[in-house]
Symmetry: C4
Subunit: 348 residues, 4 copies
């Protein structure tokens, strides 16, 4: 099997992962409309490529919150990497460091933050947080992450309750007994998730700011109103996200929502996007529409499922090559030349 | 078979109902375009969800014409429930009462109004009326319903003649001999339906008002012009409906028509909608666009076909859970917070 | 086999006609885009039905060029009816008369004008003309038609050359030896059609007017510019037509073109439309958009293929019943109540 | 097998060419979206045909850069014709001359320019150039072409690097050992293509102008900005092209891009288009939107694959007949009568 593009990894993962794990990773809420729209919406955007620019020397590096990464693609927070590969998040951390990019480790990791840190010392990492009903538990997690050298705190805003993912309900999905959500003290019941606090509001941003000096990035924003609120509450970054279509079905595709969020933010904080990235040219489109960087979720899991750390590196290398090539073919030699003039929305 | 969403009940009913009964319930007029559009039109509406609202305490109750119901989903009038379940409308009445919602009993019930009343005393019920050529027969029905404690009179306006439902014609559909349209004195010939009066006009609303003190709800309105006429003739409510796509094919989807009706009515009477509701998020969309409550037709029949009263309760519980979840994920803790800002029409 | 709607007749014809005949009747030019668009375009039009009108007495009659017909559906000119039924155009003429509607006999009939006349004396008929290179031959045909009591002359404007219908080329389509285009003196070679005159221009309308007192209807107009020219040259009627999609592929659907033609004509002459009519509600849409009457082509041939005169009557009766029902369900008791307020173009 | 339309040749080529050759010719970049859009975009354009024009004498000739061709369809530059037919580009040159049209020979020919010239002396030919890292090699090619009587120099602007064509990667595509890119001195490695110079800019147009008196046509322009630059740098012609969808995927369809390029150019240079031409009516659409001539790529290869020189002539004859017929049916007797009034963009 030759791995030429990301969908080759998807096919591999679908074939070789246990059905219950594949279903969990693939799941979207309800009819999976938003999950699929995330991808389709990219296809409605057309490039306006420019010719005869000197693209002999390509520079695809960028910076996020001041840290340089090798190209504008990071690893989005997703749970339970041991379902994809025995070493779980340790492999993810190593691959991200090897490729010199950012890895957002999830609260729902099957390795501890300490294991992740030790596996790939010096890598650029952010920590993704769900706020507990027991605030002390959250506080302890944030402070552990900061102490371990994580450089950003990503607050997920779109999960007061877990979305309805039909296949997970049918499968009675839960972690196999030998895996644990190790960052949480006691055994963790996926299907209940009763520890999530649905009373979290914008004021809790202030509480988080009182706990840590880490920059706070809010994940799950889809409208200009919420983008405005995020800026007003002093976050450093926004990840436009619909949780891979796993929460409220029939919300907007993230690339569509990006446009209005970028417009509202007017450069005051960095804006990122996840969901639906399947090709290097998707990255180019997101950047042209104002994203500073994109994050990939499921494709990273497919890479892990293929060959662990090495498989995820393969995925990132393919995206990197495709991104560089599409930049060149569109007439851009460096990330700073990418702009809205490169794209238009198709009539169809 | 695990029942996770409404289409599971649909699949069950399609598999286990006699073909002639399934076809009758499923039928749409002509090419079934409007029947299918009712569903597709919901998919073209996108949510604009808001994050970080306190949704720890959810209140999904509402009131219709002053009566509280547990959530904004009632049972639309459909005929011949004994085709779905032996106890017919008695089961429907019991399930609606158990779930504390409103059941609109059809003129074409296979149980009498008295049987329905006795089966579930105290339940909130409205009676749906077709006006007879023999007006005395209609008068008698209205007055029986009022005496039995029905709390609303629903006049169906879109059936001067029965729509052309090809499968029913091919099947030669008629009720099995052991079932009767018991509310009508003499044996009832479905395929003739000669008792329907196609000369009914808006003035007959005045005649109905002279017969009863019940509030009158008109069902089958699809345009602003007719909505204006309905208000002018003193109805208390409007159900935006195309009879499940069973009458004039290629009219508007009800959720699209709702927008213009709500605009025309400007809050003077309550507006409801039926047709195409398949998920809790569809209910949220309808409310966001101005409906006070929605009514489900076919899904109620699938529930009956699955397990009678219990099956219909299952359907309602699923809708209730999905509606509550989608409200929370969109950032609304109570029905009063739902508004047009929650939705936008997709370009596609 | 029960014949419930027009597509039942289509399925019958496809199954029982010789392939070469079916292919000839079904053929569209090139990719058949326009042939299929004729049908799809109707599906993009939505009704705005009105309720509670008195529709107890329905009047579906109309008049075309002063002659009353039982409902606004006539028989479009199509060739070679003997390919569908042994009695050919004689059966067509009888069915049209029995249903009290108009039959436009084609130059390419397999019966003579005299045979058609004799088969159904007193029927309302128009004669469709292609202009010959040999103008004397055309003159003789026009004058024969007038003498035989035909009441209109339909000039086909869209066939300077025959469109490229791939299946006919592959099949090497030609009439079987025992059939003749009897109205033309000498044996007729379908695939050559060299007798057609591609030099015909608008001035030839004046020449036709000099030959006959019959009203002239021009068939094949698709734009406002040509509609204006038609009025200026003194025709009495316009049939908006793309020859069933058999001539220039990827022109407009006729129902779409109707709108601009009606607008340009501003009531100065009658406007008709053919192409894509498959249901009674299609007729209602065409009338709502300004057509005085529609004509059916392929459905008439399917009726003939089913049972000759009787089959064509069945087709017309179904259309008549469907048209009456859709009028009633839209709230119109007579043809004069049909107007543009009944329809809107769907966004999709 | 009867060859009635271009897709018959496509089916033949797909069936009889070695898979690796078929895949190479058929390949599009990434998801092949743009390759397929080139075709689909034509289908969204509708004709506005005009009737009753005298089309008895048809003149379909045109001129490109002063040279008359028999109709406005030339042969686009494509590589490796020996993969399709043993005589390779010699057959192509002969067929183009026989049909009296223009053939743009590719740098990547499997015959030398001298062989091509000798095979069809006197034919109208342009030479397509990729600029080498070794500029002397390019200079030598340009001057050979000029000396051999080529009458135009086509600079391909959209290939600083080769697009990612997944099937070619999977197949490990390279030329069979007995074929050579003969115009380049040393053996040529397709998959490396390291000789391409990605530092080429608009200034290199001036360098080319210093080498030759041939008119320069730039190929690969898709935006008004680049069209303006092309005119400013003194080219004589622009070919609107996306390299058959083989370079940057999800750029515009060429027929859509043509509109904006023609608008920007305002008649100052000739504009041509390639990509997606499959029928004579596509040619008519391109001309109506302002192209002076179109060029066909893959269809020419299918013709070669079918029967070499003769097969390509068949393809050209079919396009010629279809173009003439569609002109006549649209009401144009000569190319000069074709204009934008003939087309409109469909809403769908």
């Amino acid at each position: 099997m030759s791995m030429v593009c990301l969908s080759d990894f998807e096919a591999y993962a679908k074939k070789y992962l246990p059905k219950i794990a594949w279903d969990y990773f693939a799941a979207g809420a309800d009819d999976c409309t938003t999950r699929d729209e995330n991808i389709l919406a990219y296809k409605r955007i057309r490039f306006r490529p420019h010719m005869l620019r000197d693209v002999s020397v390509m520079d695809i590096r960028t910076k996020i919150l001041g840290s340089e990464i090798s190209f504008p693609v990071g690893i989005a927070p997703t749970g339970f990497h041991q379902l994809a590969w025995p070493d779980g998040e340790k492999s993810t951390a190593r691959a991200a460091r090897a490729m010199n990019t950012c890895y957002i480790a999830s609260t729902y990791s099957t390795c501890t933050l300490e294991e992740i840190s030790t596996a790939a010392p010096g890598g650029l990492r952010w920590f993704q947080l769900y706020i507990h009903r027991n605030r002390a538990a959250s506080q302890q997690l944030v402070q552990r992450a900061e102490a371990l050298g994580f450089q950003g705190l990503v607050l997920t805003a779109d999960l007061p309750y877990t979305g309805k993912r039909r296949d997970d309900v049918r499968n009675g999905f839960r972690l196999p007994p030998h895996m644990k959500v190790k960052n949480l003290e006691r055994a963790f019941e996926v299907c209940k998730m009763s520890f999530l606090d649905p009373s979290v509001t914008w004021n809790d941003i202030y509480w988080l700011q009182s706990l840590t000096r880490l920059p706070i990035i809010i994940k799950g924003i889809l409208t200009r109103e919420d983008a405005e609120l995020a800026v007003k509450h002093g976050v450093q970054g926004i990840i436009v996200s619909n949780h891979g279509g796993r929460q409220l079905d029939e919300g907007p595709a993230t690339i569509d929502a990006l446009v209005e969020v970028v417009e509202a933010v007017r450069g005051r904080v960095e804006v990122y996007v996840d969901g639906g990235i399947r090709k290097g040219s998707d990255v180019l489109k997101a950047l042209a529409l104002g994203a500073k960087c994109v994050f990939i979720g499921r494709p990273a899991l497919w890479g892990l499922a293929y060959k662990g750390e090495e498989g995820l590196q393969d995925v990132l290398k393919i995206l990197q090559d495709e991104f560089r090539l599409s930049m060149a073919l569109a007439g851009c030699a460096s990330v700073s030349e990418i702009g809205q003039h490169l794209v238009q929305f198709s009539r169809l």
